[in-house]
Subunit: 209 residues, 2 copies
């Protein structure tokens, strides 16, 4: 059912649709028109219809969208209908903050372990998740069916650690290290470069954009 060749702009909006639909459902809203949904999304109704048509529609003329059905379909498209086991590599402040955030579990992202090369932090726990030494990472990945790694290591460790993990079969990298990874084509990298986003904000503030 999922069509390929969906533009990256649409893909970027999908998590927002998912968030809004989940919020609506939490508020007890079961049905929504494309006009209402577009108001929430700060988009035009035709934009919303177009976006959702990419995935086969789900709307009914004169009825609008069934919120729960649409949310579930978008969840499937995003791959949220199957659990993802994750690890964090790098137990600094940011790695701990992310591991400590329990809301990812609701979206089927389960952080199973944290790894760090510093023996002083190994054995500590964050939200019940154990910090383990790097030499246990390969067996942990295999035994726990880990599919996604969050990289919160210092900049100079970003590439070597990512390459090592690629060798252990990891293909999805959520990269917070301040470096662009250089991995084979079949690796998926989602960068969260915090200082880049701050610099973009500075640019827009300066140029009033």
């Amino acid at each position: 059912m999922v069509e390929k060749k969906i533009s990256s702009a649409v893909i970027k909006r999908l998590p927002r649709y998912f968030r809004y639909l989940r919020d609506l459902l939490d508020q007890g809203v079961n049905r929504i028109s494309s006009e209402e949904l577009s108001r929430l999304m700060h988009a035009t109704a035709s934009q919303v219809r177009q976006d959702l048509n990419n995935f086969g529609g789900f709307g009914q003329q004169g009825y609008g969208y069934n919120v729960e059905y649409l949310k579930d379909e978008i969840a499937k498209i995003l791959g949220l209908d199957t659990p993802h086991n994750m690890i964090m590599v790098g137990a600094g402040n940011l790695g701990r903050a992310i591991a400590g955030y329990d809301k990812f579990d609701n979206r089927s992202f389960h952080i199973k372990g944290i790894f760090d090369s510093n023996p002083d932090v190994v054995g500590q726990e964050v939200r019940g998740i154990r910090i383990m030494p790097m030499d246990e990472i390969e067996s942990f990945i295999r035994e726990n069916n880990i599919s996604i790694v969050g990289l919160t290591v210092p900049k100079d460790q970003g590439r070597p650690v990512a390459e090592m993990l690629y060798g252990y079969g990891i293909r999805a990298f959520w990269n917070f290290a301040h470096v662009d990874l250089s991995l084979p084509e079949d690796a998926h990298v989602e960068n969260v470069h915090l200082s880049d986003s701050l610099m973009q904000l500075s640019y827009r503030l300066k140029n009033n954009l």
Copy 2:
């Protein structure tokens, strides 16, 4: 010197140029050709020349780019040549992790204070930065010339807190709250929606994109 109407794709690449040039300078590299720079950036040489032409060039035929000069010019374009005083609002794990990160200072972003509504955390310090109560925020903003706010509050507080800060004159919001802010046109918002980025990664992993 800075031209308007620069595409947002170019603006997104500028922080990366800045990062690479700073790294080159740290490695003692003073001069670089557009070919070498493009290899680093994973772009074509003509792309790099085109990008930098947006800002008046800076390259010299047969010489290439002077790394320090180019870095400084990009810094100016990004507004990094003048310091930005910031506060974080929300002293949870993420707010503390960001405030605790000392590298932003090198890029002229100075976190001057952290604010939280929880009296239990008020008075604590992160990297010498004091956590203060919300009722001191207005005077702190005015007295410390705060131009950027990092929002690490829970989702339901995102909008009201942002609107309050807008009323105190803040126009640049670095938003980590899991909600899209709704502010007047002259507000600049840079969203860092962690779970959105994780969902995009999941999508790409599922669809092998």
